[in-house]
């Protein structure tokens, strides 16, 4: 990745036009030609630096629900517990963290009621208590990582 790639990533994290020729418009803002921007974005996607090029939806406005949850997985059952949780399609992310509550995962479901159903199912299959940490309030941040 060179300076131009970094600039593309930094600028296009802020938004992308919805118009007939959006790459041409974005390229002009970046001082590139449309073809250059297209070629570079393809390369960034191929290299895995970008997960996707497209939209992020607001789960709640879609009628869906999200929560953050955690369990205290015993060290000797760690991989087994991770396997059970990851087998749920509702589990979006799962991270091991340094704490007694050592496994933290996000559940995403189509309806709010399914969050509790999924938590109950995970508790039944793992035998562990699931700590449900739904958001009460989100404070706005500029979700952007400098490349």
């Amino acid at each position: 990745m060179d300076e131009i790639d970094c600039k593309i990533i930094n600028i296009l994290q802020n938004g992308f036009p919805v118009c007939a020729a959006p790459y041409r418009q974005a390229a002009a803002q970046l001082g590139l030609t449309e073809q250059e921007l297209i070629a570079r974005l393809k390369a960034l996607l191929d290299s895995g630096a970008l997960t996707r090029f497209g939209p992020l939806y607001n789960a709640e406005r879609m009628g869906g629900a999200l929560t953050l949850a955690a369990v205290k997985a015993p060290e000797d059952r760690f991989d087994e517990i991770a396997g059970i949780i990851n087998s749920f399609p509702e589990a979006a992310h799962n991270y091991a963290r340094s704490h007694e509550l050592n496994m933290w995962f996000v559940l995403a479901t189509e309806t709010p009621g399914q969050i509790l159903q999924t938590i109950t199912a995970i508790e039944q299959q793992t035998g562990l208590t699931v700590y449900n940490m739904p958001k009460i309030k989100e404070y706005f941040v500029n979700l952007k990582l400098e490349a």
């Binding site: 992308f16 919805v18 959006p22 041409r24 630096a49 789960a59 406005r61 979006a92 189509e110």
Partner: protein, 171 residues
Amino acid sequence: MIVDVKDRQLLEAFQQGLAISPRPYADLGNRLGLSENEVIERLDRLKQAGLIKRLGVIVRHRKLGYRANAMVVWDIPDEQAREFGRRISSFEFVTLCYRRPRHGAGWPYNLYCMIHGKNRETVLEQLSVLEQACKLSGFKREILFSRRCFKQRGAIYQNAAPLIQPALANG
């Protein structure tokens, strides 16, 4: 706003990503039997209604060198949580900031923030800047660094119902 069947089909197709070609919204429309104009009008409306939160590049933070990710949690008196949440979230290196419920004496924390950094030292330095500037040092606090990422997936779409993008809610 009313999200009709065509909107849903559009959102489903769109979440897989925008084509990287000169007329991407026309390409999207071709797959759904919509004109380019109709796609643009519908997407504008969905953006304005807040269903589409962001549009653009979605980065894989580890690939950009952001290898340390800390979830920092504080026990803040409820009546002050809002003010501290606003202060914390104003820092550029804070990627998420939420108020969440406490869970008894074992988990008294109610304010969460995520700091993504290139390494742990940077994250800890940033945290110390944050704590000084926000006057957070008197509160009980823990730092939970991520050790392993087991699963990170993008958007999901199930059963032609709502679409969900978990974003970076945890990672």
